[in-house]
Amino acid sequence: MVSMILKRLVLAVPSLIGVVIVTFLLTRALPGDPAAYFAGPAATKEAVEQVRVKLGLDKPLLVQFVHYVGDLSRGDLGASLTTGQPVAIEIRTRLPASAELTLLGLILAVAAAVPLGIAAAIRPGSIIDHACRIVTTAGVSLPVFFTGLILVYVFYYLLGLAPAPLGRLDVFFSPPPQVTGFYLIDSLIARDGELFMASLKQLVLPALTLAIFSLAPIARMTRASMLAVLSSDFVRTARASGLSGFTVVVTYAFRNAMLPVVTTLGMVFSFLLGANVLVEKVFAWPGIGSFAVEALIASDFAPVQGFVLTMAVMYVMLNLAIDILYGIIDPRLRLEA
């Protein structure tokens, strides 16, 4: 098991190197002179030269790259032009907001999609199967920002059930003392039920939006993989041995059918992390996505670069976690390693 995890870790290294090279090249691809760009629009010629020497832009590309990697290894992502704040600190304080939203969205999606896919596979051609097909086809066609806005209109404006889409907490509340950065967990730790409900209310609609978006690929994969497993020999043998339908589906088929679904999670995460940016904009969610969007509009590149790098590193790590999870579910992989 340990050797398998180590092997996967080593496999993640080229991806990380690729990510760092690409984010480095993206800065060098900035239109015009990066020094003039980082010095700001009002800078004089001397100031631009100073910035050039300070940033090391007068040195060859390879030396610059070494400096860049050096900065990264110290956790330095540069400073934002508009706020002057170090990007790394800003991202660190905003990351829990994004993580809480994305994780809850994923949990909701899996909780709905896996049973739906299984039900559809058990009775192909039934009403549930058709419902599953409609949900999966519609789910991939819905622009995530559009779903979010429709939910806001229905649940905030028409029904008045949800609070205004303005961030993580209503202005009347102050955030719980920080332990994990997840308001749901922190408010529970602080034993503040009212605060828990308040943050849950803010979180439900954006998380639901993400869930609707990522439901489709999970349900589709669960159905396809359950269908394949249910028609396999060992399931037929189990049925012939007189096991109950429930035991066959849950203990025999489900565990085997989960393997391709876990693999799909990698793709789902790629979509989720991207969709997260759009959902954060719709709900004014103070996460790293809206931080990047604000910086994009202000043509402030350092935060965008830091954001792209953070997201990519998280994505590589998530894929690593999925690979390890795969090894836990499938004992054959452990034997191979």
């Binding site: 239109p31 404006y157 979509f271 989720l272 991207g274 969709a275 965008v304 997201m311 990519a312």
Partner: protein, 297 residues
């Protein structure tokens, strides 16, 4: 070999226009949903081509007296905060959104298709380099990478097209690679080589035409994603600039009015976007079922 490129209709094949018509009839008969998607596709193409001549109002003309009015007989889709007719803007926007999607898909078809075919056919270093590039792109969440590319290269429609093409590159390269790889030692390739054709000529004249059907299916499958990606980028303020009519930016414009009840400004462009993506996804699935029935899920 070459029958891979032909529809598996089982009907006697006619030539030219007759064959095309027969093929369309076959597609529609096989799957009613694909027929519906095809009708929708024709409508989208018509709106894209004829849009500016069909609309009742100038999509850019503001009329502050009629601002923020709900759907009515005069303005079927209502008016936005500047009094512009939403229906006209939604129809006119079709051309730009459609153009962005087509251009990015065509671009990635060229880049990914050629790189992938070369990787699969030649193997060795070509394969390793193309594979490494594809892996690196796949290491990013795709929308996030597209954001980064547009931010770095500059905020323009061309760069949105380029970014959408780049993030789709691995999909195309992988499909093309796999398809070319199984054909590299096929009989017709050996025959062509025996006739004294150069490797590049075999690649372009023998292998590439043979994997076309699969690549075309890939194009229609990713078309919907291309539209979504571009609209998402313009929703967060990249690429298309106001007052240009484009679905993503129109939804962004209308989003502030959603909380105060003026739903029509964001709803209709969003619905148009959804229908277009829905249409391309159905069409792609339908085409895939015909060309490659085994991959049906």
């Amino acid at each position: 070999m070459s029958e891979l490129a032909l529809p598996k209709g089982g009907e006697p094949r006619a030539t030219g226009l007759g064959a095309a018509a027969q093929h369309v009839r076959y597609v529609l008969r096989e799957n009613a949903v694909t027929g519906f998607a095809f009708a929708l596709f024709v409508m989208i193409v018509l709106a894209a081509v004829l849009g500016p001549y069909l609309v009742p109002y100038d999509p850019l003309a503001s009329d502050t007296a009629a601002a923020l009015k709900g759907p009515s007989l005069a303005h079927w889709f209502g008016t936005d905060q500047l009094g512009r007719d939403v229906l006209s803007r939604v129809i006119v926007a079709t051309r730009l959104d459609f153009f962005i999607a087509i251009a990015s898909v065509a671009l990635v078809f060229l880049m990914g298709g050629i790189a992938g075919v070369a990787a699969g056919f030649f193997g060795g270093w070509t394969d390793r380099i193309v594979g490494r590039i594809a892996d690196t792109i796949m290491a990013f969440p795709l929308f996030v990478l597209a954001m980064g590319i547009v931010a770095a290269l500059g905020n323009s429609v061309q760069n949105i097209i380029l970014a959408t093409a780049i993030v789709n590159f691995p999909l195309y390269a992988r499909v093309a690679r796999a398809e070319a790889n199984v054909r590299r030692d096929a009989g017709f390739v050996l025959a062509a080589r025996l006739c004294g054709n150069g490797e590049a000529r075999i690649l372009l004249a023998q292998v590439l035409p043979n994997i076309m059907p699969i690549m075309v299916v890939q194009m229609s499958l990713t078309m919907g994603y291309a539209i979504l990606n571009a609209a998402g980028l313009s929703f967060i303020g990249l690429g298309v600039r106001p007052p240009t009519a484009e679905w993503g930016i129109m939804v962004a414009d209308g989003s502030t009015f959603m909380v105060s009840g003026e739903w029509w400004i964001a709803f209709f462009p969003g619905a148009a976007l959804m229908l277009a993506v829905f249409c391309f996804n159905l069409l792609g699935d339908g085409l895939r079922d015909i060309v490659d029935p085994q991959r049906r899920t």
